[in-house]
C-alpha cells in the first residue's frame, strides 16, 4: 500500500500536472470557507434574535461561566496537542503522532461531555429550544459547533486506525494535516462562540 501511494505521488510529479495530495488540501481549504460562512450565518441569526427572549430567561440567567471556561481551556489545549501531533508527524514518529492524536480527541470528548451536561442541565430546568428565539439561536449555534467537534472525534479516530494500519504515507500525512486544520478551525470558531455568546451574554 505504502509503495503504491508513493508511486502515485512520484508519477504525478513527473507529470508536472498537479500533486494529488496538495490538490486535496486545497479542496479542504475551500470547504473551510463554506463552513466559515455556515457559522457566520448562525452567529448573525443569534445576534439578531438575542433580544427575543419572549419573557423567558436571558443570557445572564442561564450562563454558568466556570463550566464554560473549563470547556474553553480543554478545547484550546486539544488544539495545542493537535499541533504537537503534526510536529510528531513531521519528525516521522508514528507512535508520537498516534499518541498526540489520541490525547487530542480525548480532550475533545471531555469538551463534548461538559457541553452536553451544560445543555442538558438547561433543558432539565425547562429552558429548551422551544422557550424563545434567543434560546433557539443559543442551542442551535452551540450544538452545531458541538456536532462539528463530535464529527472530528470520529474522523480522527478513523485516521488513527489508518495510521496504525498503513503508517505515515503521503496519503495519511495529508489526512492528518486536514483533520488538524479542521480541529484548529473549530477551536477558532469556539473563541467566537465564547466571546459572542458567553462573554457578551454575561457582560
Amino acid at each position: 500500500m505504502t509503495h503504491s501511494a508513493n508511486h502515485t505521488n512520484e508519477l504525478v510529479h513527473e507529470d508536472g500536472h498537479h500533486d494529488l495530495e496538495e490538490l486535496r488540501k486545497f479542496g479542504f481549504w475551500l470547504f473551510l470557507i463554506t463552513d466559515c460562512i455556515l457559522f457566520s450565518v448562525l452567529f448573525a441569526t443569534f445576534v439578531v434574535l438575542r433580544e427575543g427572549t419572549a419573557g423567558g430567561p436571558g443570557p445572564k440567567d442561564i450562563i454558568e461561566m466556570p463550566g464554560v471556561i473549563a470547556e474553553t481551556f480543554i478545547l484550546l489545549t486539544s488544539s495545542f496537542t493537535s499541533g504537537l501531533a503534526v510536529l510528531s508527524l513531521n519528525k516521522g514518529s508514528r507512535q508520537g503522532l498516534i499518541g498526540w492524536l489520541a490525547v487530542t480527541i480525548l480532550l475533545g470528548a471531555c469538551f463534548i461531555g461538559l457541553e452536553m451536561s451544560e445543555l442538558l442541565a438547561l433543558i432539565s430546568e425547562g429552558h429548551t429550544i422551544r422557550t424563545s428565539a434567543f434560546l433557539s439561536g443559543f442551542f442551535t449555534l452551540v450544538a452545531t459547533h458541538g456536532l462539528h467537534v463530535s464529527v472530528g472525534f470520529f474522523w480522527i479516530l478513523a485516521i488513527i486506525l489508518q495510521l496504525s494500519r498503513h503508517g505515515i504515507t503521503p496519503v495519511t500525512t495529508r489526512k492528518v494535516q486536514i483533520t488538524s486544520l479542521y480541529w484548529h478551525f473549530l477551536d477558532a470558531v469556539w473563541i467566537f462562540v465564547f466571546s459572542v455568546v458567553y462573554l457578551m451574554g454575561v457582560m
Partner: protein
C-alpha cells in the same frame, strides 16, 4: 388492521384529484416499462457498471443533462397547467390549493432541479476538456454531488403523489411555511429535497474551483483560460459563498417545524423577515450563479461562429468577477417593501443598478466580437443572437424594478413575473440550449439536426414573446402574482389568454426539441473530426466523444484559443510540436459509494419528512458508514497502459 391500513394509505398517498390519479397511473406504467426494458435487454449490469457507479466527468455530465431535461418537462407541464387555469376568468381547472402547489413546484423545479443540473452538466462536459485535464479535481465527490442532486430531486418530486406538495411558494416564506401555516409534510419535502441537492451543489462548487485553480494544462495562465471556464469559476465562487447560507436557512426552518424552535415564528421572539433576508442572501447570488455560465457559453459560441477572437477578454473577465462579488450586495431589492427605511433601500437600489453595468459591458463585447466577423448561423449561434435583445429588455425592466420607490408599485405583480422570466429564460435557458447544442457533438459524437433545431428555435422564441410581453402590461394593470383566478370585470382576460397561447407555443417548441433529438439519434450524423464547428478551445482538439482519459498527451498551451492557433500554425506549416511519448495514465476507479450514500441520504430525508426517526436514524448511520468506508478504502485508482491508449486513439481514427 385493514381499516388502519386504509387510513394510513389515504393520508400517505395524495388522493381525490383525477389529475393525480392520472399521474399515479403514468408513474407506475413508466416504472414498469423501465424495469421491463432493463431486464429484457439484460442491461442491469451495464447500467450499474457504466453509469450508476461511474466517476467519469463526461458521464456524470450526461446524467445531469438527462435529469435536467426530464425536470424541464415536469416544470414546463406545471407551467402549462398554471397558464390553462389563468386562460379565462373564473376558471375551474385547478382548485386554489392545487394552484398553490403547482406554482411552488414549478418555481422550485425550474431553478433548482432544472437550471442547476443543466448547468452542472455543462460544467462537467466542458470544463475539464477546456482545461486539458483528465478529470475534475475530485471525481468521487463529483459523482456524489450528482447523486445527491438526483435523490434530492426525487424526494421533492415524490411529494406530488405521496404526502402532498409544498405550497408556500418556491422560497417557502414563513410564517406560511411554519407548522402553523403548513401542517402537512409538503414543506418538509421541500426542505429536505432542496437541502440534499444543495449539499451536492456546494460540493460541485468546491470541486470546480479546485479543478480550475489547480488543473490547468501546462502553459495555460489565467489570461489564456477559455471564457466559459472563467464564467464557471465566477459562478463557483458564488456557489461556495451563497450555498452555506441556504443550508443554514433550511435547517433553521426545519428546526422550527420539527423541534418547535422560534427562529421565524410570529411568537416567541422569532422574526420571519430574518428568513426572507437569509434566503435571498442565497437566492440573489443564485440567479447570478445560473446566469454567469450562460454568459460564458455565449462568449464561446459568439467567438467560434464569428471566427474571431472574443472582443475584450480582460473586460469580460473583470465583468464576471465583479458580478460574482456585487451579487452579494443586492439581496434586499427582493423586498424593498419590508420597510427597512430610505437609507437601506437606497444602498440596495444603487448596488442593483451598479450590477447592470458589467452586464452591459458584456453585451457590447459580444456585439463587437460579431462586428466584422465571418458569422455563420447554426443553432447555438441563433440562440445567442436571440439572447441579446431579450436579455437587454429583461435587464432594463430589472433596472426599473431596482428603483425602490417605483418598486412599491411593481412588487409582486406580473410585471415582476415577466421580468424574471425574461432574464431566466432569455438569459439562462437560451444560454444552456446554446451550450447543449454546441457541445452535443462532443458529448455523443453526432450532431443534432439543424433544420428541426431552427423550427424549435423560432417556435420557442415567438412563444416566449407572446407569453411574457402581455404579462408586463397586465402587471402594470394591477394583476398580482400567485392568484389562482380573476373576474371578468378586471379586464385582464385578453392579455392572459394571449399569454397562455404563448405558453403553449413554448410547449410546442419543447416538443420540437425532443423531436430534434430523437430524429438526430435515428439518422445519426457522425462527427468524425472531433471539431465540427471549427472550434477554438482544447475540447475540440480531441475525438468526439472524448475518450475516457480525455487527452492521450497532456496538451501544452502557448496561446489564448490554443486549438485555433494550433490549426493556424499547422496550416502555415509551422507546427513545432514534437511528438511526446505516451505514458500510462492515472485514473480514478469507479465506486458504488456515491450512489449508496445518496440513497442513504434519501432514506434519512424521507424519514425526517414524516418525522419517522426509525427510518431517519438508519439513513444517517448509512451516510456515516459510507463516509468511513470511503476513508478506509486505499484502492481508489489505476493506470491505463500505453497499448490500450494507442488502441483507443487508433479507433478514434487518429494516429498517435
Amino acid at each position: 388492521m385493514l381499516d388502519n391500513l386504509k387510513d394510513f394509505a389515504s393520508w400517505f398517498f395524495v388522493t381525490g384529484d383525477p389529475l393525480i390519479y392520472g399521474a399515479d397511473v403514468s408513474i407506475v406504467m413508466t416504472v414498469i416499462a423501465i424495469l421491463f426494458v432493463l431486464t429484457f435487454f439484460k442491461k442491469w449490469g451495464w447500467l450499474w457498471r457504466e453509469w450508476l457507479t461511474t466517476v467519469d466527468h463526461k458521464r456524470v455530465g450526461i446524467m445531469y443533462i438527462i435529469s435536467a431535461l426530464l425536470m424541464l418537462f415536469r416544470g414546463g407541464f406545471d407551467a402549462l397547467m398554471l397558464r390553462t387555469q389563468l386562460a379565462y376568468p373564473d376558471m375551474k381547472f385547478l382548485s386554489p390549493e392545487h394552484y398553490n402547489q403547482v406554482f411552488t413546484t414549478h418555481g422550485t423545479i425550474m431553478i433548482l432541479f432544472m437550471a442547476m443540473p443543466l448547468m452542472f452538466g455543462l460544467f462537467n462536459i466542458a470544463v475539464p476538456l477546456q482545461l486539458g485535464a483528465r478529470d475534475v479535481a475530485f471525481p468521487f465527490l463529483n459523482a456524489l454531488s450528482f447523486w445527491l442532486f438526483f435523490f434530492g430531486a426525487m424526494l421533492f418530486n415524490m411529494s406530488f403523489v405521496i404526502g402532498g406538495s409544498a405550497d408556500a411558494g418556491w422560497l417557502s416564506y414563513p410564517p406560511l411555511s411554519e407548522m402553523t401555516g403548513s401542517p402537512g409534510v409538503g414543506e418538509d419535502f421541500y426542505i429536505w429535497g432542496v437541502q440534499i441537492s444543495g449539499i451536492g451543489s456546494l460540493m460541485t462548487g468546491i470541486n470546480f474551483i479546485a479543478t480550475i485553480v489547480k488543473m490547468r494544462a501546462p502553459g495555460m495562465t489565467w489570461s489564456k483560460m477559455p471564457m466559459f471556464t472563467w464564467s464557471v469559476l465566477a459562478s463557483c465562487i458564488a456557489i461556495i459563498i451563497a450555498f452555506p447560507v441556504l443550508t443554514v436557512t433550511l435547517a433553521l426552518l426545519f428546526v422550527d417545524r420539527y423541534l418547535g424552535a422560534h427562529f421565524f415564528t410570529m411568537d416567541g421572539g422569532g422574526n420571519s423577515m430574518m428568513y426572507v433576508n437569509l434566503i435571498w442572501m442565497w437566492g440573489h447570488p443564485e440567479v447570478y450563479i445560473v446566469v454567469l455560465p450562460a454568459f460564458g457559453i455565449y462568449s464561446e459560441v459568439v467567438a467560434t461562429f464569428s471566427k474571431k477572437r472574443l472582443f475584450g477578454y480582460a473586460s469580460m473577465v473583470f465583468a464576471m468577477m465583479a458580478i460574482s462579488v456585487v451579487s452579494y450586495y443586492t439581496w434586499l431589492h427582493h423586498f424593498f417593501t419590508m420597510g427597512s427605511g430610505a437609507d437601506v433601500n437606497t444602498f440596495f437600489a444603487i448596488s442593483t443598478m451598479i450590477i447592470a453595468i458589467p452586464t452591459g459591458v458584456k453585451i457590447f463585447n459580444w456585439l463587437f466580437t460579431m462586428y466584422r466577423g465571418r458569422i455563420s448561423f447554426p443553432t447555438p449561434m441563433m440562440w445567442t443572437i436571440a439572447f441579446i435583445p431579450c436579455f437587454v429588455l429583461g435587464g432594463m425592466t430589472g433596472v426599473m424594478l431596482s428603483v425602490a420607490p417605483a418598486d412599491f408599485q411593481f412588487h409582486n405583480n406580473y410585471f415582476l413575473i415577466a421580468h424574471f422570466h425574461q432574464v431566466l429564460i432569455g438569459g439562462v435557458a437560451f444560454g444552456y440550449f446554446a451550450g447543449l447544442f454546441y457541445w452535443w457533438p462532443k458529448m455523443f459524437g453526432f450532431k443534432l439536426n439543424e433544420t428541426i433545431g431552427k423550427w424549435a428555435f423560432w417556435i420557442w422564441n415567438i412563444g416566449f414573446y407572446v407569453c411574457f410581453m402581455p404579462q408586463y402590461v397586465v402587471g402594470l394593470d394591477g394583476m398580482t402574482r400567485r392568484i389562482s383566478t380573476y373576474g371578468w370585470d378586471t379586464g385582464w382576460w385578453g392579455l392572459n389568454f394571449t399569454s397562455t397561447i404563448g405558453g403553449f407555443l413554448m410547449g410546442l417548441g419543447f416538443l420540437f426539441t425532443v423531436w430534434q433529438i430523437a430524429h438526430s439519434i435515428r439518422f445519426m450524423e457522425k462527427d468524425t473530426t472531433g471539431d465540427p464547428w471549427g472550434g477554438r478551445t482544447l475540447e475540440w482538439s480531441i475525438p468526439s466523444p472524448a475518450p475516457i482519459y480525455n487527452f492521450a498527451i497532456t496538451p501544452v498551451v502557448t496561446e489564448r484559443d490554443e486549438w485555433w492557433e494550433e490549426k493556424q500554425r499547422n496550416a502555415a506549416g509551422k507546427a513545432s510540436k514534437k511528438q511526446q511519448p505516451l505514458s500510462p495514465i492515472h485514473m480514478p476507479k469507479n465506486s458504488a459509494l456515491p450512489f449508496i450514500q445518496a440513497v442513504c441520504w434519501f432514506t434519512a430525508g424521507f424519514g425526517l419528512v414524516f418525522h419517522w426517526l426509525w427510518l431517519a436514524i438508519p439513513g444517517l448511520l448509512g451516510v456515516a458508514a459510507t463516509l468511513l468506508a470511503h476513508s478506509f478504502n486505499y484502492d481508489t485508482d489505476y493506470y491505463i497502459p500505453v497499448d490500450e491508449i494507442q488502441r483507443t486513439e487508433a479507433e478514434a481514427r487518429r494516429t498517435v
